[in-house]
């Protein structure tokens, strides 16, 4: 037990640190914004350091319910980094309405996500997921005075609760037919012919998790929540929880349902359907959007579809591709949302409507160029780095014999490219909009945008060897 505690330092730091943040908030009130923000940032940084220190350790703690391994470590680092950024950018957005709970909630959400990414038991899985979800519901409705924010929180909560129910039902089926909640035990029950009860369990578990990654047909909440939630929170939703839920899905499918035999065939077809449906709907749904946050929501649905192509391959190469994709996607999406946060109209309100970006490249050449990089990168146009993870997932699919899936994926990616380049068109080709937009960003945000844009330009290719090693060592844990 004590030995186990030494292996979960990241989680311990987050738990204690989150509680401390909450305490400071409760006693110091909302006046000391800087203090509890700093504490939360320190806590996340400390947790990340602990993850790095634990690299190379492979263990199963608390009677095999939680894994300490490279796969979890890889996901946790991205999650903590994304959470870090989302706390750092918040105060300027919220201004006077900033509260201590924001930082504490993100820390707790990060804790839950870390547990999701390293769970090896259906119960730990659920606990981690709920910890993250409950924090997220509150975050979505963080601007209590704002109708859209409250609506987003409520929608997220109701649909999220439904998804949790579906997931739990699936878990209970898996438990009922395999007699255990341990991933390895479930996997053992899956060898040979897959029982019909287990098959239903798989379907329900995947459905519940598909809600979390917002894969079609469980995506309905995404555009509304992304649009309504405060932008820093949307940035958070689009980045860290995606990583956690995708990592969880990968682990459940590969670890608990098996990467070969009839079990693979059972879940593979579901994932193929989810992926194609997400890619197509994400691409087509985005075309008519006028609100940039809604558009990015559809873009995230679309991107999840591409990640699922890698997962559908069911091979180590596929998992590596998913992990690389997650990292690149998180960098891109954080950059894009930061761009959204930079621009304000004359009254100081956020500019979220795409037509208002007309001619932006003349007034804000640097910012427009960075956004163009993010958009072309999301469209996977080389030489931008967004091309690389897409290449990897297609490669994994082709190597796994899923050539038609890869063909369908690339063809639909052309539809997706249409709406990305349509925004570039608005920023670069159109005449300047009448209402002046000003860039209201701080240096820190500008720096984050610049660094992510630079990394996504050709420079990212130099990191491929490093990324490949990291992703390979993370993915090898599952095989």
């Amino acid at each position: 037990m004590t030995a186990d505690l030494a292996l979960i330092w990241p989680e311990l730091i987050l738990t204690i640190g989150g509680l401390i943040t909450l305490m400071i908030g409760a006693f110091a009130g909302d006046r000391r914004v800087g203090l509890y923000q700093a504490v939360a940032l320190l806590v996340l940084a400390g947790a990340a350091v602990a993850v790095v220190a634990l690299f190379g350790t492979e263990a199963s703690v608390f009677s095999g319910t939680l894994a300490v391994d490279g796969f979890g470590g890889f996901a946790k680092l991205i999650i903590y980094a994304a959470s870090f950024v989302c706390i750092a950018i918040a105060p300027r957005y919220f201004g006077d309405t900033m509260r201590a709970e924001y930082s504490a909630l993100i820390v707790f959400a990060a804790l839950g996500m870390g547990i999701m990414a390293s769970s090896r038991d259906l119960m730990t899985l659920y606990v981690g997921l709920e910890l993250n979800s409950l924090a997220s519901y509150v975050l979505a409705s963080f601007m209590r005075g704002d109708d859209r924010s409250s609506e987003a929180g409520l929608k997220y909560f109701v649909l999220g609760a439904l998804a949790s129910g579906i997931l739990l039902f699936g878990i209970s089926l898996l438990y009922g037919f395999s007699g255990t909640t341990d991933f390895a035990g479930v996997a053992a029950a899956m060898t040979g012919e897959v029982d019909i009860g287990l098959l239903f369990g798989i379907v329900f578990v995947i459905a519940g998790l598909a809600f979390k990654i917002s894969a079609v047909p469980f995506h309905m909440w995404t555009p509304d929540v992304y649009e309504g939630a405060p932008t820093p929170v949307t940035t958070f939703f689009a980045s860290a929880p995606k990583v956690a839920a995708m990592a969880l899905l990968v682990r459940v499918l590969i670890d608990a349902m098996g990467a070969e035999g009839p079990a693979l065939a059972a879940w593979q077809q579901i994932i193929i359907f989810l992926s194609l449906a997400s890619i197509i709907l994400g691409a087509v749904g985005a075309i008519g959007q006028k609100n940039i946050k809604r558009l990015l929501a559809y873009s995230s649905i679309n991107n999840v579809g591409f990640m699922l192509i890698g997962l559908a391959a069911g091979t180590q190469q596929g998992v590596e591709a998913v992990l690389t994709y997650l990292l690149v996607y998180v960098v891109t999406t954080i950059g894009a949302f930061l761009f959204v946060m930079q621009l304000r109209d004359a009254d100081g309100r956020m500019v979220e409507s795409i037509p208002a970006y007309a001619g932006l490249s003349k007034r804000q050449p640097g910012l427009a160029a960075a956004m163009a990089v993010f958009l072309f990168s999301l469209a996977a146009i080389p030489p931008l780095f967004g091309f690389w993870p897409k290449y990897l997932v297609f490669e994994a699919a082709v190597n796994a014999g899923l050539v038609p899936l890869a063909f369908a994926g690339v063809v639909v990616s052309v539809i997706g490219a249409f709406y990305y380049i349509a925004i570039v068109k608005t920023m670069y080709f159109d005449d300047e909009a009448e209402a002046a937009i000003r860039n209201d960003g701080s240096r820190v945000e500008g720096a984050v945008i610049a660094v992510s844009a630079l990394w996504l330009s050709v420079i990212g290719y130099l990191f491929i060897p490093m990324l490949a090693v990291a992703a390979a060592s993370a993915a090898s844990v599952l095989f």
Partner: protein
């Protein structure tokens, strides 16, 4: 080969200059861009001068294991080298051509052109399949911006059409590339060139590559993006689009599809010939009825490119050499013709043919240059067009007399639409007042016309300078294709020359009709 990594240097100079241009005001940006492209031209000429004809197939090879899964692998054979020289030759002229006509966002414009240069050189120099793809598709971004920002009235439609058409073609090729890498276990182009893919796999790979290259070329019926893109792009954009970008498609045919999938190439010969035959005749007829100068020249490009595809798929030395010369010649001549349009467009701001007439009176120097390039486009002996067309038609005739018939018809039609264009613009009465007021060409325009004219004549009078570096590569490709090559329908039998007519027989031999 060389101690100096000359190809990397050729990529680095425009890259650095592009970043500089983004930060500079209009005037210094123009100067930086010109200096960088001239420096690249100097390197390009050095490349040509140091190319060892008859030496190793791949020269100036560079390898750096930068990306793990694939390499920074550069190197050129004769064909790639000549196309790189063509790109570096056209770039400074493009910069000069937009010296005055581009007034808005000059820094961004120059940066985009410099990035284009990087990408073009990269496409031809890449020796790694993935590196090639990255460059090949990377061209979309700068061209999209060039058409969309500095283009004409209908530029947004044209930019989208260009982007989406070419992207759709390219992504299919990507899947084929993944399958190739999996099958052969390497991304090295020189290795893949000699890898024998299973015949049934070749069919699919060929079709996927064809989707990409046919759009880039462009071949009928997927050529429709080209007239739009050409008409809407700024003058220099059209020059580079016609001059170099279209060559990427034919380069893809020659570099990838023919040597890598010889069986499939033979299998689909009929398709390429059929599409080329339709394209030559159809687009020439379409060109005849155009009222917009740029559109006319754009359709003529499609027709010329169709002769290139037919020449390549003749599978013989003459046909392929001819196709290569047409590629180079068309690169120079079509760029020159677009510049001819640009010159008068800058003065009158219209591309309507009927708005002009009688330019021979007030713009004699211009008319002379325009005539030279018109003749080169038609293929008058002594100009670059003749050499390429003659060689490729001779080659096509060996493979298929019907295809040769259609292509020659296209050349006759080509003479018709070009002369008709020239007549309407240059000859006739000088009646319109605004046309009368147009001044003849300025020193800057002289500086663009003279090198283009010199090269067009050089290529027509002594094509050996251009053919010599490429001959070895053509022989390699022909040898690679030989086992799969179908028998031609022209039952050629060598005649028996009488002793007195020996010289005559030799001339025939050189002409290709044995």
């Amino acid at each position: 080969m060389s101690e100096l990594p000359i190809l990397s240097l050729m990529l680095a100079i425009p890259t650095v200059a592009a970043i500089l241009c983004l930060l500079l005001e209009a005037k210094p940006a123009r100067q930086v861009a010109l200096a960088a492209t001239l420096a690249d031209l100097a390197l390009g000429i050095a490349l040509w001068a140091n190319f060892d004809i008859g030496g190793a197939q791949w020269q100036f090879v560079e390898r750096a294991d930068l990306f793990g899964r694939f390499q920074w692998a550069l190197g050129v054979d004769g064909v790639a080298m000549m196309l790189i020289v063509l790109s570096t030759f056209l770039m400074p002229l493009c910069i000069l051509a937009s010296w005055e006509s581009i007034k808005q966002r000059v820094g961004l414009y120059m940066a985009m052109f410099l990035i284009m240069e990087v990408i073009m050189i990269g496409v031809f120099a890449a020796q790694d399949l993935l590196l090639f793809y990255i460059f090949f598709e990377g061209v979309l971004i700068p061209m999209y911006l060039i058409i969309g920002i500095w283009g004409g009235q209908n530029r947004i439609y044209a930019a989208f059409k260009f982007f989406l058409y070419t992207l759709l073609g390219s992504v299919l090729m990507l899947v084929a590339m993944i399958a190739m890498i999996r099958e052969a276990g390497t991304t090295e182009i020189p290795v893949l060139l000699n890898y024998d893919f299973p015949p049934e796999m070749q069919t699919w790979l060929w079709l996927a590559f064809f989707a990409s290259m046919a759009v880039k070329m462009p071949m009928w019926p997927v050529h429709t993006w080209l007239p739009d893109a050409h008409v809407q792009a700024p003058t220099a954009g059209s020059m580079i689009l016609a001059g170099v970008l279209l060559k990427m498609g034919s380069y893809g045919f020659l570099r990838f599809m023919m040597p890598m999938f010889p069986d499939a190439s033979a299998q689909f010969m009929w398709l390429v010939f059929a599409l080329s035959m339709i394209a030559v005749v159809y687009t020439s007829l379409v060109a005849l009825v155009q009222s917009d100068m740029k559109k006319l020249i754009a359709y003529s490009s499609v027709a010329h490119m169709a002769i290139v595809t037919a020449g390549l798929y003749a599978f013989n030395q003459r046909g392929i050499e001819g196709a290569l010369i047409i590629m180079l010649s068309h690169g120079v001549v079509s760029a020159a013709l677009f510049f001819c349009v640009g010159v008068i467009y800058d003065r009158l701001h219209t591309r309507e043919i009927s708005r002009y007439g009688g330019l021979a009176v007030n713009m004699p120097a211009y008319s002379l240059f325009f005539m030279l390039f018109t003749m080169a486009s038609i293929g008058l002996p002594g100009t670059s067009g003749f050499v390429g067309e003659f060689l490729s038609l001779a080659g096509i005739y060996e493979a298929s007399s019907w295809a040769a018939l259609a292509c020659t018809t296209g050349i006759i039609l080509g003479a018709a639409y070009m002369l008709y264009l020239y007549r309407r613009i240059v000859f006739g009465e000088l009646t319109k007042d605004d046309v009368k007021a147009m001044p003849d060409i300025k020193p800057r325009e002289w500086a663009i016309f003279v090198p283009l004219a010199a090269v067009a004549l050089w290529m027509g009078i002594y094509p050996e300078s251009f053919l010599a570096p490429m001959r070895g590569d053509v022989t390699t490709v022909v040898a690679r294709l030989a086992p799969a090559k179908p028998a031609g329908d022209a039952q050629l039998a060598a005649g028996k020359p009488k002793a007195a007519n020996a010289a005559h027989g030799d001339a025939h031999h050189a002409g290709g009709v044995q």
